[in-house]
Every structure is written in C-alpha cells, then in structure tokens.
C-alpha cells in the first residue's frame, strides 16, 4: 500500500471515529449519522460514507439512498452562505419567483449551485414558516422578509462584503 492511502485512512479515522463511536450499537441513526458527516466535511463526502458504512455495518447504498432522499443532504461542498429562497405558497403569490430569478441572475448560478468564489450556494425551500413576511429567504441562519428583487440583492451584497 502506498503511503498516501495510509495517511488518508489515518485522516479518515481521526475525523470519523468519534462519529462512529457516537452511534455504534444504536438504532435508527442513519439520518443523524449523515448529518454529522455533513457537519464534519461540509457535505456528505463519498469517502466518508464508504469508511463509516464499513465500520457500522450499514450498506453504503442504504446510506446514499437516505442521503439523496432528503433535501437537507448535499453531495457537493457548499458555499460559505447558503441562500434558501422560499418557494412556498404565500411567498409564491407575493412574487418569490421574480426574487428567485433575480438572485440567480445576479449570482450567475442556478438553484443547487455554488458561486465560483465559494461564497454563496443557492437553494429553493418549501416554506420557512415566516409566511406573513413573504417573500422570504434565509441566508445562513438569518431570515430576511418582505423582499423585493432589488432588496434581496442588497442583502446578499452585504453578506459578500462581510466575506
């Protein structure tokens, strides 16, 4: 075996063994397990799933099956700020489609993609529960309401300035 793979399996075990320990022997843990992998890597990294699935005796295909079923999991790394634009009913009738279009145009990416500089990832979500302030988007953990297309761009530029 080459030294690089040894090094990387070392690294894998360092990053993942604590997670494995947390869940070993418990039932119904696939979702939190994936969530922890995502927290560690910023996304559901393939090599991490392969490593964990061997250690925990859950098949990798089951883990990927779960990961691809839920909107929460990403198979690619994401940007520093995740923009979640609400595409729920209240936001829709209040014009969220044009907000979403404007944001996509401004950032030059489609929904699901990350900007080249790695700052923003754009996602659509079903409802953020702040419908009375529609249209709404969440940037990181912060919810911004009563958006218009220009206002949403201003908000995003503020985040970009913060870096």
């Amino acid at each position: 075996m080459s030294s690089t793979t040894t090094a990387s399996s070392n690294e894998l075990s360092q990053r993942l063994d604590p997670i494995v320990q947390r869940y070993q022997g418990k039932k119904g843990i696939t979702i939190p397990l994936l969530a922890d992998i995502q927290k560690e890597y910023g996304y559901v990294a393939e090599e991490a799933v392969t490593y964990v699935s061997k250690k925990m005796d859950i098949s990798a295909s089951e883990m990927f099956g779960v990961a691809t079923f839920y909107a929460m999991f990403r198979l690619q790394p994401e940007g520093k700020y995740v923009i979640r634009i609400c595409r729920g009913t209240a936001c829709h009738v209040q014009g969220s489609a044009s907000v979403a279009e404007e944001v996509a145009r401004h950032l030059g990416i489609e929904e699901g993609e990350t900007t080249e500089d790695g700052i923003f990832t754009l996602q659509h979500v079903a409802c953020l529960g702040c419908c009375s302030l529609a249209p709404v988007m969440m940037v990181g953990d912060n919810v911004h309401g009563l958006l218009t297309p220009p206002k949403s761009i201003e908000i995003l530029e503020d985040y970009r300035k913060k870096g």
Partner: protein, 589 residues
C-alpha cells in the same frame, strides 16, 4: 409598585422583521436599570406589526408595533422610564384603546394561551401560568381511561389535517398490547403557507411537552419523540432548553412527581421532505430510513416506531391537551359547532392586510376571519380566493366566503381544514398558476412509489404548463379531471390521494379563467409570462431612460427625452421596468 417588564417578540418572524437590533438597543438603553426586566417572548400572532415591544407597568400593558432602533429610544425614555404612554404605533393596550384590540378580542386563546406572553426559555414563567398543573392532576388522581375519556368528551379532533378524534386515537393506542409504546409529535409542518406549529414550538414549548407526557400516561407509553423540521432551528433550540428544564424539575424522566410514571422525550430533526409528515413515512424517517409511506393497516397504534404501538398527533393537538385537562372537557366543547369543537389556529398570509396567527372558535365564517380579523385585502384590491389545506386542499372562492370554519363545511367546498394555513389571493393571482404551483410542489415531493402519483402528477403538470403558455386545448379540462380521479384512486398515501384537490377546486370555481387561457390565450390576472406583454405608452413616456437602465436583458431602446419601446421578443417579463418608471407609462397587457 409592581415591577416593570419590557417584552420583545423574538419568534423567527419577529427576528426576520428586525427584532434583534431592537433588542440590542433596548439592552443598552436599560443597562443602568437592573430593576427593569427585559423578556424575550415568542410570537403573539401580530406578525404584520413586528417588531413588537410591550411595556408592562403598574398592572397595565401597552404594546407597540413596527418598533425600530430609533423608536425604541422614545419608548424607553417616555414610557419605560417616564411612565407616559406614547400614542404612536400603539398596537394593543390593556385599557382596550390599541388599534388591534378589536382583532384580539374576537379571538379565543387556548392553544396560543402563552405565545407572546411568556419567555419560552424559562420554565417558571410557564409554571406561573398553571403550567404542569394538568400533568400533576393526571398522574396523581386520574386513571389512563379517565384521561383519554376526558379528551374524547372534549370533542378535540386532530389539528394536523384529517381531523380524527384525538381521544379515540389514544384509546386505540391504550388498548394496543406492547411492552414499549411511543408518543410522537408531528412537528414537520410541511404545508407551505402554514406556520402555527412553528409559533407554538418556539413560543410555548412546554405546552407540547406537557401534552405529550399526558398522552404517554393515557396510552401507557414511556417514550416521546418530537419530529421537528430542520428548517426551524429556533424551535429546536427552545424545545431542547425546555426538555432540559422539565427534566430538572421532574416533569420528565423517571417516576414523575413520585407517581411511578416515567416518560422521556427526544427530538428528531427532519431532513426536509414533505412526505415525511405522513404518519407511516414519519415513522420510517424516525427509524433512520428513507421516508416512504407504507400501506395501512397495520396502523401506527398497532405497529409504529420500531414496530411498537405508537400514537402520532400534531403540535397544535398536543397544545390543547393540558388546557382541556385543567379546565375540563365541557369548557372546551363550549366553543365550536357540530362535530368541530374548540378553537382552531389559522396562519393568515398572502394578500391580506394583517398577516399573522389567529385563534378563533370553530364555526366562525371565513369572511369574519379574513375581513374582521385579517383586515381584508390590501391596496384596495378585490378578494379572489383563499387557499386552505395546502397541497391537499383547495381554493375557496368569493361566493363561499360565508362558509363556517369547521371540518365538515370546509370539506364540502372541496378544500380541507388541513393544518390551518390560509393563503389569501386577490385579483392579481392567476388560479391556473396556483394550481400549477401546487402540482409542481407535489411532483417534487412525491416519494415515487406509486406510478399514479409519480407519473400522473407529471402529466397534469405538463398540461397545466401548456395552458399557462396559451397552448391549451378545450379537451384538456376533461383530461385533467380524468387524471385527477385516477390519481386519487390509485395512490397509496395521502399525498397522492389529495394532490388533485387544488386542480379540482380551481376547475370547479374558476373555469372561466381556464377558458380565458385556453380559448382567448389571455391571462386575466396578468401573471402567466407567455400571455402578457409589457408596453410603454408613448404619450406618457418622458424618455427618462430609467426603464432601459433597469432592464436586465436590454429589451428597451429609445433616445433620451423620446418615447422608449420594448422589444417583446427579448423581454423576460421581470417587471423591473414597470416599477422603475416615474410616470407610470409602462403597463401589462
């Protein structure tokens, strides 16, 4: 003299409206006044007035709306420190003079009894308002049978959609044999346009904990699980704090208040799939699997989480329970009509003047909810429809505005009560676009197991797409209706079975609008991009060039000080030019 308390609404809606900087300012301003308490509370329901600040002193309370970093300075100087009530932006006043007092007076607050009043992070404030008294009463003086009978007698029905009698569900779970049983709270709130569960989870988490513990006692379960969507980080945070505090005080855990009854509680975070709100999918998701529904029976009451008997209720359902036990089933069933007893919380959103949360006795006419409490339609526009029940529901037209809000009456319109989202639509909303919106939603969220749900909704979406593009045929309506019935009959779970409802109700009540799209290639609400055109009136245009500068695709040309024109083949119908024109020369046709 009683203590002065300043409350600030810090639910996620309050924070979205800008409560954080107001809170920070408030704390700086009151730094030298330890005798004045600042209390962070949840959402009281007046979302359209947020950020909200309430001043309580000398037994009087006054609430201010649209508070900013600047106006909070006046509130502190004049009112909190000066003792003089301000008249600007006064929303609620205990003497009844606030502008929103009449709106609040029309409501009956059972579920929302503590929301916006107590600090959800402090268990003592919950206890002060008779919190955990019901649990105490149950474990010390009632049998399981007495508990579920009391709930049954109250007439409480599930608030998560189907409206099944809660007491009966508990009875079945109680009679189910099993060494271990589970109580599950469905806090997935997947319905877009609904946010009452979020507000209760954030604003009064102990009410859910207490309701679940009582349920555990009634059915003989020692384990509770709250399945909460991950999009609600504040709800999860407040629930975690509340669970810890309830454990410390002995309201959760082993041998609760020395009664021999034990109950533990955990939170499971959902991972963003609408179908996981369906009971059997929710169970699969709790078990860590993909959230795919399975056929029933067996019902969760027989075989639920890890194959054990399980009772699943919605957040609002549990939030009613402690109140019922404390005040008795009779007091609860005093409210309501027919087989719908108690109150219902509604989330008002969309084209409504006073969006937010309201709790009204069942049976109040929709008109009263929308006009008297919701303030009607803003900007002098005309009411067109109200959407109830989300993707499983439908659109109720103007002619039916006097329908009372109770399960049976709403069902008769073709919509459903659902979880209580009311999305109001005005003349500027296209009903075909709305139908299409819901279909694309279920299309995205279908788990894919049933061909009718997976493929049928896709066919319907294609047809609706065509209609919104002006390429529909008259036969499309019959084709849609046929598909609706097949999907209803051929789907395994509630998602597929109800997915056609938005289409059915819009065809039923807004057929004219379908015909306008199909026959006249016209979108009466001027929404559908392929059927509208932006035009500049050369008489009105002063040639200021603003529109041309704002157009993202350079569709507008013209010389300065001369009338401009839009090239319709380039225009992407973003509407930016219209809002940027200072003289209103641009219109949509």
């Amino acid at each position: 003299m009683s203590q002065t308390i300043v409350k600030i609404g810090m639910g996620s809606c309050g924070i979205a409206a800008g409560a954080r900087p107001v809170e920070a300012k408030l704390r700086t301003l009151l730094e030298g006044h330890p005798e004045i308490e600042i209390r962070k509370v949840g959402c009281i329901g007046l979302c359209f007035q947020e950020p909200l600040v309430e001043v309580e002193m000398d037994g009087k309370s006054t609430m201010y709306g649209h508070v900013t970093e600047e106006s909070v300075e006046d509130i502190v100087k004049e009112h909190v420190l000066g003792g003089k009530r301000l008249d600007q932006a006064l929303v609620l006043d205990s003497d009844g003079s606030g502008m929103e007092n009449p709106r609040m007076d029309k409501q009956v607050r059972i579920v929302l009894r503590n929301c916006g009043i107590i600090d959800p992070e402090k268990i003592d404030e919950y206890i002060e308002r008779e919190g955990y008294d019901a649990l105490k009463k149950v474990v010390s003086s009632m049998t399981s049978e007495q508990v579920y009978t009391e709930v049954l007698d109250s007439g409480l029905r599930g608030r998560g959609g189907a409206g099944f009698p809660t007491g009966l569900k508990w009875k079945f779970a109680n009679l189910s044999k099993g060494d271990e049983k589970y109580v599950v709270c469905n806090a997935d709130e997947g319905d877009p346009g609904a946010f009452m569960d979020r507000s209760v989870l954030e604003g009064d988490p102990h009410a859910i904990i207490e309701g679940m513990a009582i349920c555990g006692y009634a059915i003989g379960a020692n384990h509770g699980i709250i399945y909460c969507r991950a999009e609600y980080p504040l709800a999860i945070k407040n629930l975690n704090i509340a669970i810890e505090q309830a454990k410390e005080r002995g309201f959760l855990g082993d041998d609760i208040m020395g009664s021999g009854f034990s109950f533990d509680l955990k939170i499971k975070e959902g991972a963003g799939a609408f179908v996981c709100g369906e009971e059997t999918a929710l169970i699969a998701s709790i078990e860590g699997k993909r959230g795919m529904p399975r056929p029933r029976p067996p019902f969760p009451a027989q075989s639920g989480v890890f194959g054990k008997p399980t009772n699943i209720n919605n957040v609002e359902t549990y939030a009613n329970v402690a109140w019922i036990i404390r005040n008795g089933s009779k007091e609860f069933s005093k409210y309501g009509i027919g087989k719908s007893r108690g109150t219902k919380v509604f989330a008002l959103a969309g084209k409504i003047a006073k969006g937010g949360l309201v709790e009204v006795p069942m049976g109040m006419p929709i008109r009263e909810v929308i006009y008297d409490i919701g303030g009607g339609i803003p900007d002098g526009k005309e009411f067109k429809a109200v959407q109830m029940g989300g993707p499983s529901g439908g659109c109720i037209p103007k002619e039916l505005l006097d329908t009372p809000v109770d399960y049976e009456s709403i069902n008769a319109t073709g919509a459903i009560m659902g979880s209580g989202g009311m999305v109001v639509m005005d003349e500027g909303t296209c009903m075909i676009d709305v139908a299409r919106f819901f279909l694309s939603f279920v299309q995205n969220e279908s788990c894919g197991k049933c061909p009718f749900c997976r493929i049928g909704t896709k066919r319907m979406l294609e047809i609706l797409d065509r209609i919104t593009k002006g390429e529909g045929k008259e036969s499309d309506i019959d084709l849609l209706l046929e598909l609706c019935h097949q999907i209803k009959d051929g789907s395994l779970c509630g998602l597929g079975q109800t997915a056609p409802n938005p289409v059915l109700t819009t065809i039923k009540y807004f057929k004219d609008e379908y015909m306008a799209h199909i026959v006249d290639h016209r979108c009466p609400a001027t929404v559908c991009p392929s059927l509208i055109h932006y035009v500049i009136d050369p008489e009105k245009c002063i040639g200021c060039t603003k529109c041309a500068k704002n157009c993202p695709v350079d569709a507008i040309s013209g010389e300065i000080k001369k009338p401009h024109v839009i090239d319709d083949t380039i225009c992407i119908r973003c509407g930016k030019c219209k809002v940027s024109c200072p003289v209103g020369a641009i219109s949509v046709e």
